[in-house]
Symmetry: C2
Subunit: 477 residues, 2 copies
């Protein structure tokens, strides 16, 4: 019993050490186990089930916009990776190289895909010939490998799971529209499903994707005030098309280059869910992605009829993702365990409840407990899950807004960067030198130039020259 | 128009050249495109959508039996691969080695997983401590890499998609029961969903998986009389547990080794579907895994009201996977195109049909055409899809049975192997020398020792000594 108690107590408080709190949760909620390969994690059932729910809903939304799924090889020959100059410069330093196969040294080494632009371009060059073949709106769900020095489960790992969409269009306008469409789809998904509010905007040139003309991003604020880039959508223009020779004949029988986009979200989203919603009792999952939405815990399950009643409630609630915990642990252990795992609702049923034809429901996010007549249980559970989903988003929004600051000059910027943690809104002249100076002096990077622009000053926060745009700055994961 | 016509005609007949017919179909039905990496294929939307339907139904069946999904790293350090002697001997010659990462030579090279027994064992050694942690019934959906010299799309490729289940149990009996349970789940799935009848049985020691105590298999017969191993389920006993130190304390507080199983099915199943059901007009898909179950083709779509009616029918049939082909191709081109892609039902609607309040439905498998009143369209489509699914299995069974032969001595074996193509049932003494002799002389390998045993002779077909078991022999993909 001592060991059991310890299992659910040994979590560092987030105020004491946020990084350790995070690590404790991913381990104790059994989302992840470390593997023998440095920087690679094992995603355990409790973690993978969240990813499956994310995948399912995201894939459904993709397909509604005409996305088709494919699967590309995991290897990229070196000569193919080298075809687009900026792209190879961005990725070559962080790839893993396969040099031997089937007992022999390869004539040309291949990297494990860090991303698949080059493979899709090679493919599109083969299968696109006429305007009739456009657009191509393909996506794949797979894992990619990037050699990272410092890794953290979900946030940054050598191998991670993601989806990568790659499209080809007849016109620049259509490519830009798809880029923005997918960014908004990502943001809506994060808000509606993960209950995480997003700042939507464009990356500066310094922060954009290797080979892209423009990168758009959604940025979220974690509980500790650090930013997390949560999804990106890139417009490549016709740069890759020219490097790879992807051309089509238009209706006037003239050869044209296609315009391309790519966009991706990763298992990093699970890290965002942990760091936005979690508390000192563990994970708190938004109902929409909770593998178990309600756990039924029998109290005094040794008493005749209690377990049967618990199963009966499980049956009544079968329209939800529900579990009856009939294990031989104590109710107290089970309470703590399912709190740690972030199960949205706990339903307690004991002999006295059965007599009174009622059950006790506890909300994971607020701790609120209410007694519900069994006749109303199903309706109440549905209602509470809906409310909880909505309120979790609202609380995250309030937290984010309360941790969004402004700075109009360098003194203010340094003050906020040192004494607060959160987003810092400040004007920027557009010069990369100022971006670099802000990183060096204030330790912040540009998160994005938000779509929702404001003019909070006339001059650049760094150099004092006329400002071009509002930028969200911050410390980021 | 000439080019269009050619596109759907250029398919080799299966009687003329079965291998070329197969290759033609995978290309013309746009299931696959070759990539720049030898032996790696690109699975195109029409192919991947079939895989998604296979995954969805198989995963649903897995979860009903308590399977939980996880994700393991794609790399295996060499020292880990080396831990189980038989296993490394089986796989080391055909792996791809990563030797460099992040710009540096690795201290220890890692292979890309050819299968993940070693990773799961390492994981289980960490997380299993007590009888309470058992059983573990984990599965992952991923891709694996095996360095193959000769490759064919879906059937044998360097990288392929699959699922691999890995389980750990307290007792040998429980492990054996799970091994058989999953084999039967596979066979039922293939019969009920892919409409492919299976022979269920056990592999001989020569043919079993590297490191397994027993391998069970399901074997299907292709249209050309060759066999295809379609899924395998392995019982490892406690061999891996001893090599990796996977122990648990039982209820009496004694240390015990776990007993393990693994089981997998792959994208090879799509190859089986092609080679069992396809014909000289292209692919024929069983309705259960057809991405499009019915295609509505407007005839004279330039006439007012025709396209609208086609969309209206699409809406009536929205309970099925239905598509209205409103492209600017001719009806004839569309007929041939959707035949090539194996769409189970074609629904034609033209001005005369609209006047008569009817539509024409054509079945892809039999070519049968019938005229249906629009009032009955939805019911009829559902009925036809059910009938077609059932009849496709039945036809495949009749074909398989008609191509299953018997041999009681070596003369008969040589005669059948030379003059027929199909399964050959023959008795075997259990000696590997006879297995090797049969391969050398008759060109056949043992497919399995079927669960449904018969005694068709008293003596081994090869050596004439007393027979131990009936074996299915054949030429295999």
């Amino acid at each position: 019993m001592a060991k059991e108690k310890k299992m659910v107590e040994a979590i560092t408080s987030m105020e004491e050490d946020f990084a350790q709190w995070y690590t404790d949760i991913v381990k104790k909620a059994e989302l992840v186990e470390y593997s023998g390969i440095k920087g690679c994690m094992i995603i355990r059932p409790a973690g993978y089930a969240i990813w499956e729910l994310i995948q399912k809903e995201l894939d459904r939304r993709f397909k509604e916009t005409g996305v088709e799924n494919v699967y590309m090889p995991m290897f990229i020959p070196e000569s193919l990776l080298n075809k687009e100059k900026d792209h190879v410069e961005g990725f070559a330093p962080e790839v893993a190289w396969v040099t031997h196969g089937g007992g022999e040294k390869l004539q040309e080494r291949m990297c494990v895909r860090p991303t698949s632009e080059t493979l899709f371009c090679d493919f599109y060059a083969k299968i696109i010939g006429s305007y009739r073949d456009l657009p191509k709106v393909y996506n794949q769900w797979c894992s990619v490998v990037r050699w990272e020095k410092t890794t953290r489960p979900f946030l940054r790992s050598m191998e991670f799971l993601w989806q990568e969409g790659h499209t080809a269009h007849a016109t620049a306008e259509e490519a830009e529209a798809r880029t923005i469409q997918m960014l908004n789809l990502y943001a809506d998904f994060c808000e509606e499903v993960l209950a995480i509010p997003m700042v939507r905007g464009r990356k500066t040139d310094k922060e954009k994707f290797a080979g892209a003309e423009a990168t758009y991003t959604i940025e979220a604020l974690m509980h500790d005030g650090k930013a997390l880039q949560s999804g990106t959508s890139h417009n490549f223009g016709d740069g890759f098309a020219k490097a790879f020779g992807i051309q089509y004949t238009d209706k006037d029988n003239k050869l044209q280059y296609v315009h391309q986009t790519s966009w991706g979200m990763t298992t990093r989203l699970i890290g965002a869910v942990i760091m936005v919603h979690g508390d000192n009792s563990g994970l708190v999952l938004p109902p929409a992605i909770a593998p178990i939405q309600a756990v039924i815990i029998p109290v005094r399950q040794d008493k005749e009829g209690v377990l049967d009643k618990a199963y009966e409630l499980g049956n009544i609630l079968k329209g939800f993702r529900v579990k009856v915990d009939d294990s031989d642990r104590s109710p107290g252990w089970k309470f703590a365990e399912h709190e740690m795992r972030g199960v949205p609702l706990r339903i307690e049923i004991g002999p006295k409840d059965i007599e009174a034809k009622q059950a006790v429901i506890a909300r994971r996010d607020t701790g609120e407990k209410l007694t519900v007549s069994l006749d109303e249980l199903e309706a109440k559970v549905g209602e509470l899950l809906t409310t909880m989903q909505k309120e979790m988003l609202e609380r995250a929004r309030v937290h984010r807004d309360a941790h969004t600051y402004s700075a109009t000059n360098m003194d203010e910027m340094l003050d906020v960067a040192e004494n607060k943690s959160g987003f810092i809104k400040a004007m920027w002249c557009g010069d990369v030198a100022c971006e670099e100076a802000l990183k060096e002096k204030a330790g912040v990077t540009s998160r994005c130039m938000p779509f929702a622009q404001e003019e909070i000053a006339k001059t650049c926060v760094c150099c004092g020259k006329p400002a071009k745009t509002l930028v969200y700055w911050g410390k980021a994961y």
